[in-house]
């Protein structure tokens, strides 16, 4: 490219013009390098939480529940930190939720994100959350959005796909590997019974999970990170929509299971008999 420009300009009075074009080219490729990433952070009960409900089984009981970054999102956040460290990307994190989610966002900042955004509304359903995210992604010109394939509270698994569709971005879910070079991305998706390699382009939305990075790559905030996180910006935006498409009206807990039937280790025939005649599964 440069060479062509040179041929065009070198032997003419436009030599300054050549320099100017080079400068523009540099600016352009620099812009390419600085990918803007938004990582979606869902604020969910710790995996060991006992799940209970209040107000006549209409509300999740948060009493005594410890909240964490959604595990699927944590893998995405670490992958984003690698893009920052190795490819100079900027990484913002976002949550759609009330003030109670801010400690979770601060944790993401302590892990290394540059800035956080909270859209100040209760996350009522996947559609409403995707709508809020779509506005932020469009206004902020993000190139890559990394969300989790699902959050472990409502397990809707719809926010990243809806977001991609709303902003007309490419979309890969159950993503277990991701590389981005310039405008091009290569990803691996886990499918039933195997995996699939795909190529695509930015803007791109990812539904991430373990594999994007390994468990051992996950980062725990250190003291310095925690101190720095306090000074990083956390912007609160007001929601733009109140429309929902689904409405969780009540909750139920699974019926308690009967006691286990123990079979003696020397009496395997009995187990086969039970599975065949009682459980009817073989």
């Amino acid at each position: 490219m440069k060479f062509l420009l040179y041929l065009l300009c070198a032997h003419s009075k436009y030599f300054d013009f050549y320099n100017y074009l080079c400068f523009l080219l540099k600016l352009y490729s620099k812009k390419q390098e600085n990918m803007k990433i938004l990582v979606c952070i869902s604020h969910v009960p710790d995996t060991t939480s006992k799940i209970n409900f209040t107000e006549g089984n209409t509300k999740f009981d948060t009493n005594g529940v410890q909240f964490v970054i959604n595990p699927n999102d944590e893998f995405g956040l670490t992958r984003a930190m690698w893009f920052k460290e190795k490819q100079g990307a900027s990484v913002d994190v976002i949550n759609v939720g009330g003030t109670e989610t801010e400690p979770t966002l601060r944790k993401a900042l302590a892990i290394g994100a540059d800035a956080a955004i909270r859209v100040n509304t209760e996350a009522k359903d996947g559609f409403a959350v995707a709508k809020e995210l779509a506005k932020v992604v469009t206004d902020g010109n993000y190139d890559l959005v990394i969300a989790g394939r699902e959050s472990i509270d409502y397990n809707g698994g719809m926010v990243p796909g809806m977001l991609a569709s709303m902003i007309d971005a490419n979309f890969v879910t159950n993503c277990i590997h991701l590389e981005v070079e310039g405008n091009n991305a290569k990803a691996v998706r886990e499918i039933d019974g195997g995996k699939e390699s795909v190529s695509t382009t930015l803007p791109l939305v990812i539904g991430g999970q373990k594999g994007l990075v390994e468990e051992s790559d996950l980062r725990i905030p250190n003291m310095r990170g925690i101190m720095m996180a306090r000074k990083k910006p956390l912007t609160v935006l007001e929601p733009t929509t109140s429309t929902t498409e689904t409405n969780s009206v009540s909750f139920e807990k699974p019926v308690p299971k009967g006691a286990v039937t123990l079979v003696d280790a020397d009496n395997i025939d009995q187990l086969i008999n039970l599975l065949h005649n009682e459980a009817k599964v073989i």
């Binding site: 595990p71 796909g161 499918i191 195997g194 695509t200």
Partner: protein, 320 residues
């Protein structure tokens, strides 16, 4: 008006979940007095769907669709729903259906409920029961939009035969441009997947090392089962990540789940709880899995499993 169901296939043959979504669609159709239309892509013989309650099958034949593409498939289902004027679209919970569902939801301005486990308890307002908190609870969810998408949990409704036959119509929708190109697919074709398996045999850290997985595989072979593992087993690299089941891995909703040397941590149980019958083999009688299981043997897997495999082989030979 009809109920539209997307009937998934593999190499031109319907998957079992296809028959399940038809059965489910038929239950809704009977409730509101309408019929079931199925949309199938590159299926050789669609007549089977009539036996589960479909009256019409829209069959799309197009070589370029042999590899799944979420955007293209969502576009096809959307056009079928528009053509049929469907108020309700039913999908399965396969990885592919979960991939395309949110794209379809935006395309149809439809509310989408995933992981649904029962027929709707109410039609107006349209209310379905779905799992939440990774199988630790259920939520009754209303879908308030005119068009509704239900993602049915695999193996939750079962197959219900109906008398009837389905007419087949060729359908040639326009295909949207897709920005995601599949370069290669790496899939064991000779093995049943965790998602489709009736029986899953799963191993944990109690098996001590990858060299002992022959135990799990031999048992799985006899049962025609898929193999799975606990999270630490995949983290340690003993088994591929694709076998990791549980809250942060794949969900299991098989008829029979056999856990060998798995302690039964809450995160593991959350993912496999939808399985109908659970069997545990563990040396430790205090292992939490015994509280979640239907049948259990307190014993050493290295002694119990080879015996179980041999005896099942004999049993299968007798009952074949």
């Amino acid at each position: 008006m009809s109920i539209l169901v997307y009937t998934e296939s593999d190499n031109g043959q319907f998957k079992k979940t296809a028959l399940e979504v038809v059965s489910y669609g038929k239950a809704i159709a009977d409730k509101i007095g309408t019929t079931v239309t199925a949309i199938a892509i590159n299926v050789n013989d669609t007549s089977e769907l009539g036996n589960y309650g479909a009256s019409k099958v829209l069959n799309v034949s197009n070589e370029s669709l042999n590899t799944f593409n979420a955007k293209a498939y969502a576009g096809i289902i959307q056009q079928a729903a528009e053509k049929e004027g469907s108020d309700v679209v039913v999908l399965s919970s396969s990885a592919d259906s979960k991939y395309l569902a949110p794209l379809l939801a935006v395309g149809l301005d439809a509310g989408y409920a995933s992981n649904v486990v029962e027929a709707p308890s109410n039609i107006t307002p349209f209310t379905v029961k779905r799992t939440a908190f990774t199988n630790k609870a259920f939520t009754n969810t209303e879908i308030t939009t005119a068009t509704k998408i239900v993602g049915l949990s695999n193996n939750s409704f079962g197959l219900v035969e109906a008398s009837g036959s389905a007419t087949t119509e060729d359908f040639s929708p326009s295909l949207p441009e897709s920005g995601v190109v599949v370069e290669s697919v790496d899939k064991a074709t000779d093995k049943v997947t965790i998602a489709d398996a009736e029986v899953v045999v799963s191993g944990g850290r109690g098996l001590k090392g990858p060299e002992n997985w022959g135990l799990v595989e031999d048992l799985a072979d006899v049962l025609g089962a898929a193999t799975a593992c606990s999270k630490p087993v995949s983290d340690l690299g003993w088994r591929p990540h694709s076998e990791h089941v549980g809250q942060t891995g794949k969900p299991v909703a098989s008829n029979l789940y056999i856990a060998i040397g798995i302690s039964g941590a809450i995160q593991h149980l959350a993912g496999i709880n939808s399985s109908k019958v659970k069997v545990v083999i563990n040396t430790d009688p205090e292992a939490p899995f015994f509280k979640a299981a239907d049948y259990g043997i307190v014993g050493d897997a290295f002694e119990v499993i080879p015996q179980l495999t041999e005896k099942l082989k004999a049993f299968k030979a007798q009952n074949a």
